[in-house]
Symmetry: C2
Subunit: 473 residues, 2 copies
Amino acid sequence: MKRLINLAAGLAASMTVAAGAAHAAAAPARGLPSQWTVYSGDIEHDSAFKAPAGAAGAALNKGVTWRFAEANALKLSDKLGKDAAALGPRTAPVKTTQFLGNAVGVTVVGDVVYVESDSGYVYALNAVTGRQIWRAPVDNAAMGDPVVVDGRVFVGTGDTGFSFSQILRAQSGSRAGLVRGLSWGGIYAFDAKTGKQLWRFGTRGENMPSECYADNTLYFGNGDGHMYALDPATGTLKWKTPIGGFDSMSSCTIYQGKVFAGFTDPNDLAAVDLHSGKLVWRATFPNVANTGMGDNSPTVDPVNHQIVQVAVANARVTGGKSSVNTAVLGVDARTGKVNWKTLLGRGASPPAYKASVAMVHGGIVYVSSPVTNRLYALNGKTGAIVWQSAIPYPQVPGLGRGAVTFDNGLLYQSTGTRLFAWNAKTGALVHTLRIGGRFGIVNPVIVGNTMFVSNSWGWVFALPVATVAGSKA
Amino acid sequence: MKRLINLAAGLAASMTVAAGAAHAAAAPARGLPSQWTVYSGDIEHDSAFKAPAGAAGAALNKGVTWRFAEANALKLSDKLGKDAAALGPRTAPVKTTQFLGNAVGVTVVGDVVYVESDSGYVYALNAVTGRQIWRAPVDNAAMGDPVVVDGRVFVGTGDTGFSFSQILRAQSGSRAGLVRGLSWGGIYAFDAKTGKQLWRFGTRGENMPSECYADNTLYFGNGDGHMYALDPATGTLKWKTPIGGFDSMSSCTIYQGKVFAGFTDPNDLAAVDLHSGKLVWRATFPNVANTGMGDNSPTVDPVNHQIVQVAVANARVTGGKSSVNTAVLGVDARTGKVNWKTLLGRGASPPAYKASVAMVHGGIVYVSSPVTNRLYALNGKTGAIVWQSAIPYPQVPGLGRGAVTFDNGLLYQSTGTRLFAWNAKTGALVHTLRIGGRFGIVNPVIVGNTMFVSNSWGWVFALPVATVAGSKA
């Protein structure tokens, strides 16, 4: 069922927050995507939206089909990604996801699709035709989905790397204080219509996570272990709070007057006051493995007033083989107290990104584990597993990294080499579809009856939702 | 005095080597630069060449003046480089050298200047006018000077970074087996006339060092700890020999039928047979600090039949301050036995690249130390210091990283923010010139009476040698 709440454009952004109180301002508009204030466009990470009014909306309601090849795109028939001969089948897809294609899903605002590419470009595409409106260069990989508010497009750049000085720090036995990000790290603002660069704010660490936006402020956690607040008009720093560790791919979210993000070494979930920049609480979870906390984007469960956080946990090496578990935690948004913790099961440690992004719909937590290659539904109040289903094709390691999207009783998932449709109530697999290439941490974005996905090979797709559901020939 | 040996174009490349014997084939043409087979165009790292015949040569003999701004070039008045506000005065110039501008000097063949930029481009510029002939994109930073032989331009890509798995390896206490290079690593061949890409060979580690060429084979050591030999026409692998450690910025050289490069962790100078790919010897030096061996490009001293290698040595932390020494070693090219070792003096550890590139001219070793900020002349037979001079302006840390160039009794040096001319016999400073920007590991290339230099801010300059010598108004 599509969300029908339809905030007027810009309303959420311009509202004033009563500090410390729950407020609507932090929640993105869940109907018409007239702005995109948070990773996946929704604090519940449920990327289903009503189509905009007018001809474009009518087309998206009918379902459009196109595909767009970015600069450096690989052939869709390519199996393992760039330089597989030198890198091997485990590393080649990872490197391609991190340095060539699209690490996460797209942004849709009005009839425009905004996409960040690791090849150093931001694209604006016509949502109906797939034609390029503009392309803007950035100075490093762009791995998020752009935040788009009030005619500005915000993009962070950065990479997964470490300098040699960080190697020396690690060799000295220290785990704390590592800075992630090798080459340039910056936050950019572009004009949404023209792609003209408005400003750039440089940082010491990477900005792989997506930013989040509320109350005329742009927030982000990043690779130098800080939470930042910038003026969106000028890029001027409002405040900067040291958290410690590094935020790898944990895209921030906003709820109850606080901005949340995960950090690695120490493995903390941090809650920072939106206005003062003061750390309200930090939750440290024991036995969390790298880089599960700093890689996981917190999800808001507004029914249970909690943050749902996924953590790579209990790493173990047995007989030379490393295994991990996936922990899902319900954390009280006000206090940081853990309401419940559910382990999804042990398995071989997947390559690179080992976490996954939870999605909440109606108080149910939907989350996959790239360790067990399964999709789960959890009771948001207790953490009890309601159902679980094996994601087929486990020969591709690390399935289920991206959030699923709920639409008309089905869950849509883009993972490995395929799109999946699941029955949200039972977990029964409804349909699978292979469209070529390979998905990273990608959430399907649904607008009307059109689904938008991007992939690691450097492609953006639009296709009718019915095609993915299998209800159309 | 300019070298007058003038091999016919292509001769060195097509000659067959008698294995194990000294041979002319490995030595680049030292007169007319009709090809460029090794870092700095000369196995002695002495980049002074006769001008080519014809009108272009006449102009270069007179001395031309131009400057060329590459993509992303900074203002020449910029003092600390990109993102200095976030990175600080020690890190900003390093990052700019590694990810924006030109890490080392240029290549000149005929009347064309070939330049590799960290911003991901290779340029061919008209040597007389500075106008761009072509620009070719590559997939990561290009930090060497291109090898150019028989109408093909060879370029390596790679970066200084490490992946998170290398951090985990370092944290486990292991120093061996680290792979350097985060994003793409590749060797490219381009058509010298058009810039058309002919082939690309992907590697696991970075290819920051320059390649070297002999006997219709392209050689290189790289970040995955191997020495490679490729067919220059097709990019096909001829052989690949594991050395261990990583070659960071040690550009290979060729002498007496062997290819030489330095590696870090273990800190070895390796000599590999050109034809069989077999390791002939490896010299391990005690107390070498990171990454001095894998960063240093070996220099051939043909008078004393030895390899001159610089190593960052005897690292020490006293009162929280780390200091190092700079060791220069004369190593028997046939056996790997150390003929002599000279310590240039202790000082504060400079940021990033801590080594320097030696230049040999007439059996004298000219080498700077970025630790003492001094330039030295050493007797090549004994290693005894003949003279030493302080490089002025030591407020810029890490002076003297690039090789100096000998021309008409003077030594030319590009370091810090300035060009210097020194009396080669006495070490007396003759002239200094500031042209804006900042130099990385840059050797001045002299053709006729024109000097070519590139810098960390993304600029290439041509200027009359007399201007640098101070002999012209």
